[in-house]
Symmetry: C2
Subunit: 168 residues, 2 copies
DNA sequence: CACAATACTTGCACTTTGCAAGTATATGTG
DNA sequence: CACATATACTTGCAAAGTGCAAGTATTGTG
């Protein structure tokens, strides 16, 4: 917990606030990758995320994809539509239950994925190069817990968060 | 018949890819805060960022604000306009050079800021509660270096990144 | 004083997003 | 077996956000 610093404000300094710092790194690192896949393949961010999911998980349905890359059903539907238009994915009705579509990556989809993943890997490597071995391990395990906690924070909503803050 | 062929991919697993993990935490944590300030005050994300900047830095001009919260001049101008409409900020022409506007937070702007910052602090506290003291220190120093490296990554663009990847 | 430079600001086209309503399929229920 | 209900998307459209060209106001320069 923090101490309130100057007279009248609650002492939240944007540049030192953990969520903003995480956002900044994520946003700055996402921009070059995003211009790459959007200029090169005409992919949207949702399209790229879905491509990455179906690259490692064949014949996924829309809800699985949404869960795996944190997209709502609308975005997933549109993203799959985009990938299908580009020839990077195909959707077939599911074998047993035809309400579920089975989405699979195509050969050219995988080629595109590999090119984007190459750049993604290079970016990650540059970031990791700035950290020591032990820092990487700490960051890895810390991020795992932060992922869990942020999911809970998201799930409970701001009303509950303010209540908790009032009764510590 | 098609086979899932993970043999041929570059092994970038979205859920283990550092930039995605940072993005996920940042996005999940930003959502409740965003719905709070947008429902309660009608603030946009840019509006909130600018409010946070002028809460700690009085009479800033638009470029300073943009630099402090990573917004382009258009977004800053519109955000300030929104804050002015809401009565959370005022802009006056600068004392010496009247091209520069001096943006200041109003009393009601500070009240709003304090309410949002309260929730922001509660969110950060929940995240930090998941980490040990030494993890917080490691995360803090690691993030500082990641901020620097991500700014460089953003600055050089994807062409340079791919060249580097080819010639290590 | 003409002209360029700076610091925003606005208008407008274009894109993205959120959500209501729609389609197709499956699963009870009387 | 008809019919209501539920599930899994999908589409249409309006609202919101974004990007950029052009505009305004002000200051520096030859």
């Amino acid at each position: 917990m923090k101490q309130a610093a100057p007279a009248s404000d609650d002492g939240l300094k944007l540049s030192a606030w953990l969520p903003y710092r995480l956002f900044l790194v994520a946003a700055q690192v996402a921009r070059p990758l995003e211009s790459f896949y959007s200029e090169t393949f005409g992919l949207s961010q949702a399209g790229w995320r879905i491509l990455a999911v179906i690259a490692e998980r064949d014949a996924a349905n829309a809800s699985e994809i949404g869960r795996a890359c944190a997209l709502d059903p609308f975005a997933v539907s549109r993203g799959i539509g985009q990938l299908a238009d580009l020839g990077f994915a195909v959707r077939r009705p599911g074998k047993t239950d035809r309400r579920f579509a089975a989405v699979s990556i195509t050969r050219s989809g995988r080629t595109a994925f590999n090119r984007i993943a190459g750049l993604g890997g290079a970016i990650e490597a540059r970031l990791l190069a700035r950290l020591s071995e032990s820092e990487r391990n700490t960051l890895d395990s810390a991020l795992t817990r932060l992922e869990g906690e942020s999911a809970r924070i998201d799930a409970v909503g701001w009303r509950a968060l303010l209540d908790d803050a009032g009764t510590p």
